[in-house]
Symmetry: C2
Subunit: 166 residues, 2 copies
């Protein structure tokens, strides 16, 4: 398949159609994916960032549960398939040029979107301001883990792969 093909979605029209129109015609990159960001529908906290191919996007829309594409594992991935931390999509939006989606979600199960057990993957703040960048120490701001990854993922955690566990 041409990775940039629209899959089950509409062909893209004119630039004006894409920006101002009502037709959903998502744009996948050369690798066949688009960017997806999930936020907590109550608090607005960014919970995670991941990728969707056409199948993951279609499955998300059809089921209301967030699906992604794992680039490292090369497969469709339903968030929460192992951990039970399913993301129930309350609202989905796309951006001006339709190459990214924003999911407002409620997290099922332990309520943790991150494979480290934390509510959000974004649990560390980077200090701003001039000065050395190599020794910039972050601050943990995300709170304690809500589950034990070692117990939830018997196969072991898979950090630094670009594909968080489930």
């Amino acid at each position: 398949m041409n990775p940039a093909a629209p899959g089950p979605f509409a062909e893209r029209g004119s630039a004006r159609d894409i920006e101002e129109g009502e037709a959903f015609a998502p744009k996948f990159d050369d690798a066949g994916v688009l960017a997806a960001v999930a936020t907590d529908s109550d608090t607005g906290e960014v919970l995670m960032f991941a990728w969707m191919d056409a199948t993951a996007l279609a499955r998300t829309i059809e089921t209301g549960h967030a699906h992604f594409y794992s680039r490292s594992r090369g497969r469709l991935w339903k968030k929460g398939e192992e951990s039970g931390n399913v993301l129930e999509v309350v609202e989905m939006r796309t951006d001006c040029d339709q190459d990214a989606v924003w999911l407002k979600v409620r997290v099922s199960g332990a309520g943790a979107a991150c494979h480290t057990g934390r509510r959000s993957c974004f649990y560390r703040a980077v200090p701003l301001g001039p000065g050395d960048l190599t020794g910039r120490a972050m601050t943990h701001v995300g709170g304690a883990p809500l589950f034990d990854p070692a117990a939830v993922y018997p196969g072991g955690s898979k950090p630094d792969t670009g594909a968080p566990n489930d």
Copy 2:
């Protein structure tokens, strides 16, 4: 330059260091960029999604104003350089594997992050549920434009390039 080189940032350590440590060691992809999402620091609304190379990330941290890398134009891009809609970064976070950043921002100028003049680039909602995906009509939920793009960008709007105007 090797696009995946860390630039002015720390070399990446072990998987445990990357996930649990305090050292900021961002990961750039093969094209030399990482994903950046900006949200309104007051409301949590997702305002825009864009890319940063090492220079854009360093400049953002050092100045507190969001900088991105325009893939289509192949250059560093200070958000608001044309429109005045600068993004003042209130807090920056990174995720578990440090290949994405979340900026909580205040928008200067007209208060619009989108080159279409709207507050957020995510101004259309995609209906969820089973059924045909090619004819899925979106709903405009983002409100009216806060500025006139034709007046602000004399060179014309550049839709559908993956690089919104400034």
